[in-house]
């Protein structure tokens, strides 16, 4: 009997290992990654800490997963132990207990989609998952129980047959998708492309520089992704959390991050298993022939999908498999932009202006300071020196945002700070070009910006633009530019804390703060603006989605210049959320958010930058 159980459970485990090697052989056709398999020893830690940190945000799902996964694996280990070592009834009983727990897990998996599959979850073969799990757990659990009590051969054999059938079904579900995450997840966690995310090391959000001399720039076919990235796509469990968080999906644009990852996973296979989740709106899943060397965009992925993404990272924040959707989008955009020039018209114009005028709007760099001209902010010349270098950013060309900058400059003056701008030497930081996949223009702009900054002496850079903050803080270091960069809300918070600005809370509006993605999710700065608002206003509320899980305004990632079709506008959705929170004023901290939310028509809450609200509250 023991041999039979070893044969059955061990055989299934062995088959799973072989299956893993088959998948690995496919991922290895991607670009090589160093130290990938050495990362296997990190997997338990990453899985138990980081994955579960995300999974646990939904306690019911976490419970279900802990029981099902724990039961399936724990039972397997204990039963093998008992059978191989000839251990006594106690180990068999423990194995039966573990499988029993797995059985309850299977029940919970079943309850998830019954009576009705929630829209964000996939149906199709997923409906067979509970049955397969139940057969494996119940069959093997009974076998273990019978062994524990020393029952006769027949019931053991029948139980083993049931468990074996369940095991075979689970293996089949690896190939079809629902169980693939278990095997692919191991490889992905081992070779995760952003190791900085793990073990409390913090965030890792900057895009990596591309070697512009490489023969293939970006991604055109699946083999252009790195091996671990391919494993990451296969690791998607189709839970739909990313889809629920995606602003582009909510606005009816042709993007669903879950369908995107599934398309990339399917792109590796000549005959991908059918996808039974929601597709991107108005963009049915393309049924092109997949393959490691087959083109992705236009073949298995709708063209518009790429350009709809605002790079807000909401999907990444929610993904329990820690998949990096934005990196995938940018890699594909790099291929389209650099290798084919296949950008949308508006984006092509912005890129041309970035190349030829160092400014995506095509405006004269010398005019950047016009909105604050009346305040006579000094310009620091090459070789010159100042305390704080004020980086104005693209928003400076906009009259509305000029008010914010004037408020900031006025506050900095009040606090007695010494600061200056680069004047006409401030080029665009390259954020837009980089998000649109034009790494060549980004690197050219970055080199120019870095040399302009290197030619001056200052203690830190302050900017009111979170995109500039992110690029200078997180992306320039790889290109040789390292300074202390501060967002204006961080600076003002410091000034208030140190008593250099005194605020008196103003009554009136009920204020909701909208977190800019590039300040919150990209840089983890969600507290300083709130402290400032609490010091400046009497009545502050939170929108349902706020902080690290805030919803994007729709302005990032070159999505607005790409002009993609939509059913509704993302800022309209966000404004609705502000209304639902009862806000009569939305506080912002980014020129992009200001422009997007100010663009919402009809009666709506007012839009004010945090700096404007602080200026209104300042008393000394």
């Amino acid at each position: 009997m023991r041999a039979l159980i070893v044969g059955e459970i061990g055989g299934i485990a062995l088959a799973a290992a072989v299956g893993w090697l088959v998948l690995l052989a496919r991922w290895l056709k991607g670009r090589p990654a160093t130290g990938w398999l050495a990362g296997l020893r990190q997997v338990p830690g990453r899985y138990l800490v980081d994955v579960h940190h995300v999974v646990a945000r939904r306690p019911a799902a976490a419970r279900m997963h802990a029981m099902a996964a724990g039961g399936v694996l724990g039972g397997l280990a204990l039963a093998l132990l008992a059978a191989l070592l000839g251990a006594g009834g106690i180990v068999w009983a423990l194995a039966a207990l573990a499988f029993g727990m797995g059985g309850i897990g299977a029940l919970l998996v079943w309850r998830r989609r019954v009576p009705k599959t929630p829209p964000a979850l996939s149906g199709g073969v997923f409906l067979w998952l509970p049955a397969a799990l139940a057969a494996w757990c119940v069959g093997n659990g009974l076998a273990a129980l019978f062994m524990a009590i020393g029952a006769s051969a027949l019931p053991v054999i029948l139980s083993v047959v049931l468990g074996g059938l369940g095991g075979v079904a689970l293996l089949r579900l690896v190939a079809l998708g629902p169980m693939r995450h278990a095997l692919a997840g191991v490889a992905w966690l081992a070779g995760h492309t952003r190791p900085g995310r793990f073990s409390g090391k913090g965030r890792d959000t900057g895009l990596r520089p591309l070697d512009l001399a490489a023969p293939r720039l970006g991604v055109l076919v699946p083999a252009d992704f790195s091996g671990p990235e391919l494993a990451g796509f296969d690791a998607c469990i189709q839970c739909g959390r990313c889809e629920e968080a995606c602003p582009a999906f909510a606005a009816g644009q042709r993007l669903n991050p879950k369908a995107l990852i599934q398309a990339l996973s399917g792109a590796m296979r000549a005959v991908p298993p059918p996808y039974a989740g929601r597709p991107a709106p108005s963009a049915p899943v393309l049924r092109g022939k997949g393959g490691m060397e087959e083109p992705i965009v236009g073949n298995v992925l709708h063209r518009d999908t790429l350009w709809a993404c605002t790079t807000c990272r909401a999907c990444v924040e929610e993904c329990p498999m820690l998949i990096e959707h934005v990196d995938a989008v940018v890699a594909l955009r790099r291929g389209q932009t650099l290798m084919l020039g296949a950008t949308r018209d508006g984006a092509a114009q912005a890129l041309r202006a970035s190349r030829e005028r160092a400014e995506p709007g095509g405006r004269d760099l010398a005019a950047r300071g016009d909105m604050i001209a009346a305040l006579d902010v000094p310009v620091v010349p090459p070789g010159g020196e100042t305390d704080i270098l004020l980086w104005l950013g693209e928003g400076a060309f906009d009259a509305r945002y000029g008010r914010t900058l004037r408020a900031l400059v006025t506050l900095m003056r009040r606090a007695g700070l010494r600061f200056a701008t680069l004047g006409g030497d401030e080029v665009d930081c390259g954020d837009l070009a980089r998000r649109l996949g034009d790494e060549a223009t980004f690197q050219a702009l970055a080199a120019e910006a870095i040399s302009a900054l290197n030619a001056r002496r200052f203690t830190k850079i302050v900017t009111a633009d979170p995109h500039v903050l992110h690029v200078l803080r997180n992306e320039y270091p790889a290109l040789g530019g390292r300074w202390e960069i501060q967002h204006h809300t961080g600076l003002l918070d410091e000034l208030v804390r140190d008593g250099r600005l005194r605020l008196e809370r103003r009554e009136g509006a009920r204020v909701a703060y909208h977190d800019p993605c590039y300040l919150g999710r990209y840089n983890g700065e969600i507290d300083a603006p709130r402290r400032l608002l609490d010091a400046a206003c009497t009545d502050r509320v939170e929108m349902a989605r706020h902080g690290m899980r805030a919803m994007c305004c729709g302005g990032g990632g070159g999505s607005p210049v790409s002009d993609v079709d939509a059913v509704t506008r993302i800022p309209d959705l966000r404004m609705e959320q502000a209304r639902a929170a009862g806000a009569s004023l939305v506080a912002v901290a980014c020129p992009g958010c200001t422009a997007m939310l100010e663009g919402v028509t009809g009666p709506r809450p007012e839009i004010r930058d945090v700096a404007e609200l602080v200026l209104a509250a300042v008393v000394a």
Binding site: M339, G341, E356, R357, G362
Partner: protein, 235 residues
């Protein structure tokens, strides 16, 4: 069909940075639509704008290095191995570049020239059908004998910029015989001043007149009357 696109060391009018003029990008598009071999041609040292122009679809660019009148240098080079088609932009944007160049070149080569070309068709029997862009979106079909020079309309479709092409361009310098020198341009630079608007000049005033094979003196008189009527020559 072998085409040559004339490239200048363009400068962006707003930023003063190197950039291919819009018309030259359109000219590359026309050359590509003609099919066959397409090359770029520039008189002078390789300039940054050339690489950017190449990104719009040129595999190779020859830079002619010789001293003297660029028109003479180009004419000598082109007549040594005449292409079927020479394309240029319609407006110069940098330094001593001149929009006159294609005209002077046509005169010297004795080739026909058409300006404002929006599209070209399939050539046959030594003739090439082209579409000319007129003001207010009007179009006119014409035929021109090959070899010829075409100046692209600024609004002709521009092929997209592809960085991969720009970085792959084969740029070679060709040493050529010096040509006659031209007097260096003398002039003063002064800031741009908006010129007074000619009210009504944007709309075609009554369609104008078509003179069929007119007497030169008669043609000149009609032109002068027309310019006076527009107020451009004083009373």
């Amino acid at each position: 069909m072998r085409s040559v696109v004339l490239l200048s060391g363009g400068i962006d009018p707003v930023s003063g940075r190197s950039a291919p003029p819009r018309g030259e990008i359109a000219a590359i598009g026309l050359a590509l639509s003609a099919g066959g071999a397409v090359g770029g041609l520039h008189v002078g040292l390789p300039a940054a704008a050339l690489g950017q122009a190449a990104g719009h679809g040129l595999g190779q660019i020859a830079c002619l290095r010789g001293v003297g009148d660029p028109v003479a240098i180009l004419a000598a080079h082109l007549s040594a191995a005449p292409p079927d088609l020479v394309l240029a932009g319609s407006r110069a944007c940098g330094g001593e570049d001149s929009g006159m160049l294609p005209y002077l070149l046509a005169e010297r080569l004795g080739w026909p020239l058409l300006a404002g070309v929006m599209a070209i068709g399939a050539g046959a029997d030594g003739w090439l059908p082209v579409t000319i862009g007129l003001p207010l979106g009007a179009r006119q079909d014409a035929r021109i004998r090959l070899p010829c020079i075409l100046c692209a309309h600024d609004a002709a479709p521009a092929p997209p910029f592809v960085f991969d092409r720009a970085r792959r361009v084969a740029m070679h310098t060709v040493a050529v015989a010096d040509a006659e020198t031209i007097a260096p341009l003398e002039g003063t630079e002064r800031p741009y001043r908006a010129r007074p608007r000619l009210i009504g000049s944007a709309a075609p005033a009554g369609g104008g007149r078509v003179l069929d094979n007119p007497d030169p003196a008669e043609a000149a008189r009609v032109l002068l009357d027309h310019l006076r009527a527009l107020g451009m020559l004083g009373a």
